[in-house]
Each structure stands twice: as C-alpha cells, then as structure tokens.
C-alpha cells in the first residue's frame, strides 16, 4: 500500500512502459536533431571536398580527405574581402547602435520619456519591411554619394538595429531594482555616474547579449546590402549570391564562403545560450 503512493509514476503506467517511453522519446529527439543538423553538415562537408567530389553524381557523403583548397581559393581570389567588409560594417554599426540605443533606453525606462506610445512606435519601426524603406534610402544615398561606402552601410545598419537595441535594453534596465539607483543618487552620484556605475554593470549580461544579436542581424542582412553596395563594400551575403549563375553554380565557393559567414554566428550563439530566447522573442519571453 505504501509503495503505490510514494512514486510520481502515474497510476496507469507501470515503470516498465514508462522506461520504454523514455527510450522512445530519446530516439525520436536524437532523430529530429539529426534531421535539422544534416543540411548544416552537408554544407560544411561540401566546403572540404575537392571540386571533383562536389561535382559528382551521385553525391559523395563523406569526402576522402579534408581539403582546405576551397578556402585557399577564396583568399587567393580576394573574395574574402567581403567577409572583412561584413565584419567592419557589422562591428562598427553594433558599437554605434549600442551606445545610442542604451542611452535612449535608459531614458525611456527611467524617466518615462514619451510614455508607452514612443516605445511602441520604436518597436514597430523594427517590423517595417526593409523593402519598403530601402527604395527611398537608395535614392537618398545616390544623392549623397553614399552608395557602396562604409559610411552609408554603417549608418544604415545602425539605424536599422536601433529600435531593437532600445527595446531590448529598455527591458533589461527595467529589470534592475530602482532602489539601487536611488540609493546611489542619495549618496551624491550624478545621473550620469548612476548610469555608468550602477545601471551598466547591473545589465552587463543583457548588454552583451543584445550586442551579439545586433551584430548577427547586421552580419546576416542581405536586402540592404544587395541594393546599396556595388563592388567596394560588398558583404559576404551578397558575395554568396554572386556565385549562383544562370547555367551553373560555383558550389566550391558557395560552400566555403557560407561556412566562413556562419562560423562567427555559431561561436556567438554558444556564448549566449542564456539570453537566446529573450533575444529572439523581442524580450517577450524572459527565458
């Protein structure tokens, strides 16, 4: 009698069928993970193939040896400049967007600047489709001579990511107990000191995660880059599409360049598992 009431196993499940179900769950979970990972594996594996192996029908599922020649060719032909361009544009615009955005977020969170309306308007800017704004911006850039320049791309990505930064940082700052800042004010700190010595250290994690996301958005962006670059600041996403031809595709370069472009993003994700859900759900899920 005592035995029956002590377990958490529900009444209609014997331990045996429970364990069978757990094993089945594990098998299905591993299967799903493999299905989702296989395309990534296929891309990475293709980047290490020789041209003969890539252009083999039926395809080779496991290259005879790991060849780095495809990457070497990217360096030799100078294609790798596009990765550098992406890096410059994404990094500088992230720094700019984070500095401007965090200041603005602090004001929205603590002084209630503009109330909820302003905040809602800001986040709705994030959701406007790029195709609708890219056209007037292109014409403006032609007028200013900013097409295909670092300045143009950096400024655009800064503006494009600002709503996200403001919105996310507003949330992280609101999570900090107000009493801490008030105590610092009473102790004679200025608002500026409170911002630097209390607010920023308190939301370090969120700050870091938001910066990583901002970087990823700029890094992965395509439509703006397609319209606003020509040859000088081509980003890696645009470069990848150049390898698609009407008759045939340069699979060797497509695979190697895609891997180069994906590597930093994968590394970044490893470091921010904790903030991932909050970051992609626009702060709606605190995870």
């Amino acid at each position: 009698m005592g035995l029956k009431t002590c377990g958490v196993v529900s009444v209609n499940q014997s331990p045996w069928s429970y364990r069978l179900r757990q094993h089945l769950r594990l098998v299905v979970a591993i299967g799903i993970t493999l299905v989702f990972l296989f395309p990534v594996y296929w891309l990475a594996m293709n980047s290490f193939k020789t041209a003969d192996e890539i252009y083999a029908s039926p395809p080779v599922w496991w290259p005879a040896s790991l060849q780095f020649n495809n990457y070497w060719v990217l360096f030799k032909d100078g294609d790798v400049v596009s990765v550098w361009n992406s890096l410059v544009v994404a990094t500088v615009s992230t720094v700019l967007a984070m500095s401007l955005g965090t200041l603005c977020a602090y004001s929205l969170a603590r002084f209630k600047t503009g109330g909820d309306h302003l905040s809602n308007w800001i986040i709705s800017q994030r959701m406007v489709p790029p195709i609708a704004v890219v056209f007037p911006i292109f014409l403006l850039y032609v007028f200013l001579g900013w097409v295909d320049t670092y300045v143009g791309m950096i400024l655009l990505y800064t503006a494009f990511n600002l709503p996200y930064v403001i919105w996310m940082m507003r949330g992280y700052i609101q999570d900090i107990p107000r009493s801490l800042e008030e105590a610092a004010l009473v102790d004679g700190c200025t608002h500026w000191e409170v911002f630097w010595k209390v607010v920023i250290p308190m939301c370090k994690g969120g700050l870091f995660a938001t910066a990583i996301f901002t970087f990823i958005f700029a890094w992965n962006e395509f439509l703006f880059a397609l319209v606003l670059t020509r040859t000088e600041v081509t980003t890696y996403t645009v470069q990848v599409t150049h390898y698609f031809g009407g008759q045939s595709n340069f699979w060797t370069k497509i695979a190697a360049m895609s891997v180069l472009g994906t590597l930093p993003v994968f590394i970044a994700v490893v470091f921010m598992q904790r903030y991932l859900v909050r970051g992609i759900s626009l702060g709606a899920v605190k995870g």
Binding site: I30, S124, P129, I137, A159, I254, G261, S281, V285
Partner: protein, 279 residues
C-alpha cells in the same frame, strides 16, 4: 536629451522614407521620364490593375498560410518532446538553435545544395526509396518550387517556434496540471483548458514575429529561385525589388512601398494592442 541622438538616426529610416514615398508616389517618374510633375492617383490606380502585383501578394499569402501553421505545430510537438528530462537535452537544444541564427542567404545556399538535381542528396535519397533515379528539378519545375522553398523556410524557422514554446511550456503551472489530472481530465482537455491559455501570450508573439517575417520573405526565395520560374514564386518583396531596381519604375515602386507600409502599420497597431509586447 538622452533620446535625441537615437531619434535623429531613427528619423533617417522611419520618417524620411515615409515623406519621400508619399511625395514620389504622386509623381510620374519612370526610367524614361524624369519629370517631377504631379500626376495625382495614377500610380495607385495602376496598383489596382497590376495582376503581377496581386499574384505576388497571393504567393506571399500562400507561403504564409502554409509555413506558419507548419512551423507552429512542428515547433509545439518538438517542445513537448523536449520538455521533460532527457539525456543530452541541453546539447540537442543548443544544436537545434543553429538554423535560426544562420543568414537566410546561407540557408538558401544550403538548400540549393540539398535540392540540386544532380549533386544534391535529396534526389539521391528519393532514388533509393523508389528504386530508380529521380533527377527532380526542384528549383525549376513549377510544381516543385513551392515545396522546395517551404522546406527551407520551415527548416530554418521551426526551431524558432520550438525555442519560444519550450520556454512557455516550462512556465506552465505544474500544480494546476496535477490537480486537473487527479480530477480525471484527459490529455486534450488539459491541453486546451490549461496549457494552451497559459502559453498563448508567448505563442501569439511568436506567431506575430513570424507572420511579419514571412510577409517580407525575400532572401531564401532569392537564392533558390529568384522568384522564378517566370514569376511563379515572386513574393511582394521580390516584386517591389524588381519594379524599383530592374524596371526603374520609380514612382510606381514608391506607391507600392507606401501601400506595404500602410497595410503593415495597420496590422501592427491592431496586433500590438492585442498582444502585450510591452509588459
């Protein structure tokens, strides 16, 4: 004062384009004609008569209506699967995240590789299943392009739904579930009466974000089919792009872009009021 620098930059992408679009959409600028005379509502009239535009809208709607429920249901099933303890659970979740952060352009490249008629594994596996070679032209044949694009889209964004719903499911009140279970409520009853209402706020936001993303679908289609064959998979974003940057129909493109902004702003205002994005 702290807000000023940020607002100044925001004006560049928010207010300036809007004013500019309104202005240009009432002019008659094309590739041939550079005059800035005002022509009234001609461009808006053209929108109504442009079948290619309405087809592009229809294609976008098809992608949306098929991909969104698929991503939701698959994501929910996966979230259920991963909800309880499982050996290696954290590692698997970490790996499942990868598609979400990959650039859609790379995702498109990956699936071009996968679907390639001669060098891709998909046709090979299909060949094994049916017993003879299957040289299917996934990105060219009219009846195959939609499945191909949808597979790429669902592959990339199901993990997004999965992650959000997993977080939501983990927050469902366990004691309520136990109480209902003891009272004899069945699985579906518990799901619809307790679980669903509890995860709905998160689910609604996930759906909203994905809906807006699907509405502007561009990158994956661009790498897989460029909107082709013909204009069969042309989405509203690809249509607008080709009007503005291939045909140089400046004023007409402005009118189309403005319609998109107005339409989406209306949807957003309605949605943001119902879905509490701002806590």
């Amino acid at each position: 004062m702290l807000v000023a620098p940020a607002m100044l930059v925001l004006l560049l992408i928010a207010v300036f384009p809007l004013i500019y679009l309104i202005l240009v959409s009432f002019q008659g600028i094309t590739m041939m004609d550079n005059s800035s005379d005002f022509v009234g509502f001609i461009n808006y009239q053209a929108i109504l008569e442009d079948t290619r535009l309405w087809q592009a809208l229809w294609h976008t709607a098809v992608f949306l209506v098929i991909a969104l429920p698929l991503e939701l249901v698959l994501g929910l099933l996966m979230a259920q699967l991963f909800l309880e303890k499982l050996p290696g659970r954290q590692i698997m979740i970490g790996l499942l995240v990868l598609p979400v952060v990959i650039s859609p352009i790379v995702a498109g490249a990956i699936w071009s590789l996968m679907f390639d008629n001669r060098y891709g594994p998909i046709n090979q596996v299909l060949g094994w299943i049916v017993g003879h070679e299957m040289p299917l032209l996934w990105t060219i044949k009219p009846e195959l392009v939609y499945p191909a694009i949808l597979v790429a889209e669902v592959w990339q964004w199901t993990p997004f739904m999965f992650l959000l719903l997993l977080a939501a499911l983990a927050n469902v009140d366990k004691s309520q579930l136990e109480a209902a279970s003891i009272d004899g409520a069945g699985y579906w009853r518990i799901f619809f009466r307790i679980v669903l209402p509890s995860i709905w706020p998160v689910m609604a936001i996930a759906l909203l974000i994905r809906m807006l993303d699907l509405f502007r679908l561009f990158d994956v289609v661009w790498t897989l089919t460029q909107g082709g064959p013909g204009t069969m998979t042309e989405t509203i974003s690809i249509f607008t792009y080709s009007q503005g940057f291939k045909q140089f129909e400046t004023s007409y493109t402005a009118a189309v872009a403005l319609m998109i902004v107005v339409f989406l702003s209306a949807v957003l205002m309605w949605a943001l009021k119902r879905v509490g994005l701002s806590r």
